[in-house]
């Protein structure tokens, strides 16, 4: 799972190059995780894809996580894999509810649908995404279902008698 060879060396190389762009790094259960700054995300991704030591050419997934009531509220997690070097790395970016995050579809076209899914489920806006609209839910759906403050049974309406009452409507 981990970056090949010496994990701390590769993390060090990245920290030296990007300085404050990498806020934190950790290795848990042999998986390398880097917490990166939102502003440096695209340049770090670009570097990881092109640098001969990393060559992260395969985007595995883009994931939203809601840490309500923490601030910043959301985390966007990127799983990257290198088909030529056979190693994995995880990038994380913390953003607040009001913030948006730059898209990585320009680097990996595969990010298209996963980013749309993160938008659909959490309402995270990806700046520059070519087609940012809902992917699973209906286009006129209200709310973002995977947010922690969204009820498990949904909101009550004429189609869903078992849902919860919407407070602001009362």
């Amino acid at each position: 799972m981990a970056v090949e060879g010496n994990q701390s060396v590769s993390i060090k190389k990245l920290t030296e190059r990007f300085g404050d762009g990498i806020i934190d790094s950790s290795v848990y259960r042999d998986e390398v995780t880097l917490l990166v700054d939102k502003g440096a995300l695209v340049s770090i991704c670009d570097f990881l894809k092109t640098d001969p030591a990393f060559r992260m050419d395969y985007l595995v997934d883009v994931i939203g996580v809601d840490y309500m009531p923490a601030s910043p509220r959301f985390e966007v997690v990127y799983h990257l894999y290198s088909i030529s070097k056979r190693h994995r790395i995880r990038l994380k970016v913390k953003i607040d509810e009001s913030e948006s995050i730059p898209t990585v579809t320009g680097i990996w076209p595969a990010a298209d649908w996963p980013e749309r899914e993160a938008y659909d489920m959490y309402g995270i806006i990806f700046d520059g995404h070519p087609n940012l609209k809902r992917i699973y839910m209906a286009p006129d759906w209200e709310g973002f279902p995977l947010r922690k403050d969204y009820p498990l049974r949904g909101y009550k309406d004429k189609y869903n008698p078992f849902g919860e009452e919407k407070e602001e409507l009362l």
């Binding site: 050419d57 595995v60 076209p109």
Partner: protein, 396 residues
């Protein structure tokens, strides 16, 4: 050619393919922009089967989520079970017994055969070869019979549990597996006799839905579809889990990245799966099939009638579940359709804080547009079948 195209040029139309269509393999909606019969653009619309599995998972105990994974890729439920329980085990940092690893490999490979058989069968039917579907289902029954012997279920198996498997792998199962290994290769030869040299099959699949290795990697294509484009990447080989590093098997790849190569890769993968099953059955050691931890593997139900302690363990397991250390892990396995990944964020309680399922069909469908652009409408059917989409897993 260009002149002629100008002559017959008609205005572009938008054709809605699905969501209810026999060749859509479920609830897939394609909005196809056509000029005559040529495809200009394909927009893929998914989500008709969205059930909010991830949200449900956040509200369930760790062991209660296993049956939900059966309903993702319902054609090969074992792989889903496997990815999920491996992720939880990684968080728990436990080592499962040696025998369990063998059992799991056999189960996963059986499920690969079941999945690929249905893929080839449905694909044949979509292109007008009805008999291949019936043959494929005949063989699939044999695989499902083994599942029934293993755990009583045929489709929604829930066979694997955190820390092991639910039931032991009996001698009868061993025999049934060896029987499969013996008779299946002939059956695959039969399919190949019907399809591989068949002129209609070749015309419909050769050079159709072509995608280059570079595009395939960029679009996140995985599994047999990616290997058909010539990329030798199989998680079983390159990041071996369970006992795959001890087994002798090859990873077939294609060269052209067209539908026919994707078919050939799948057929060869089934043959390799049989080799894996044979080795695993023969080398399987004796021993326990669950970890020795009453928190994770409750005592068998019979043992709870006359032993107080067992009753308590059983009750605790069912009602409280088990706590999982704080942290986050990502585990991926090579499912029949590609990389099946499970990302779990744990906050240290009995329920996962976040489960993200990285489903191969979801990522594979992104390349439908690239594959079908410039081709003919009828080729979409072959292209779709060659990706083997299952909407239970695509829509989660």
């Amino acid at each position: 050619m260009a002149e002629r195209e100008d002559l017959v040029a008609t205005k572009t139309i938008k054709l809605h393919f699905g969501p209810q269509h026999p060749s859509a393999h479920g609830l897939l909606h394609l909005i196809v922009e056509l000029q005559g019969e040529k495809i200009l653009n394909v927009e893929t619309d998914i989500g008709y089967l969205h059930r909010g599995t991830e949200k449900l998972g956040e509200n369930l105990l760790y062991h209660q989520f296993v049956p939900y994974t059966d309903r993702l890729d319902y054609l090969c439920a074992m792989s889903n079970n496997l990815a999920y329980v491996m992720a939880v085990e990684k968080l728990l940092d436990i080592e499962i017994p040696e025998r369990t690893k063998y059992i799991r490999v056999i189960a996963a490979e059986l499920s690969r055969i079941a999945g690929h058989l249905l893929c080839v069968g449905a694909w044949g039917m979509d292109l007008g070869a009805m008999s291949i579907l019936l043959y494929a289902f005949r063989e699939r029954e044999l695989v499902l019979d083994v599942f029934e012997m293993l755990c009583g279920a045929r489709m929604t198996l829930s066979y694997m549990s955190v820390g092991g498997v639910r039931y032991d792998f009996t001698e009868d199962c061993k025999e049934a597996c060896l029987n499969l290994v013996k008779i299946m290769p002939e059956r695959f030869d039969e399919y190949e006799k019907i399809l591989t040299g068949n002129r209609v099959w070749l015309k419909r699949n050769k050079g159709v839905g072509v995608i280059s290795a570079k595009d395939a990697i960029a679009l996140g294509l995985g599994g047999p579809a990616l290997r058909a484009s010539g990329v030798r990447w199989d998680i079983r080989k390159h990041e071996p889990y369970l006992i795959y590093d001890r087994l002798d098997f090859i990873v077939p790849t294609g060269t052209n990245g067209d539908c026919f190569d994707r078919y050939a890769v799948r057929i060869e993968e089934m043959r390799q799966a049989l080799r894996i099953i044979e080795q695993a059955v023969k080398e399987m050691p004796d021993g326990p099939f669950n970890v020795d931890d009453p928190q994770l593997a409750p005592p068998p139900h019979d043992a709870t009638y006359d032993n107080m302690e067992n009753l308590i363990h059983h009750f605790k397991y069912v009602s409280h579940g088990f706590k999982v250390p704080k942290g986050e892990v990502y585990v991926s396995v090579e499912s029949p359709k590609g990389e099946l990944g499970v990302y779990i964020v744990s906050d240290g309680s009995e329920k996962p804080y976040r489960i993200k399922l990285r489903m191969p069909t979801f990522m594979n469908l992104q390349s439908v547009n690239k594959m079908s652009k410039g081709g003919y409408l009828a080729d979409i059917i072959a292209t779709l079948s060659s990706l083997d989409p299952v909407f239970g897993e695509c829509d989660k």
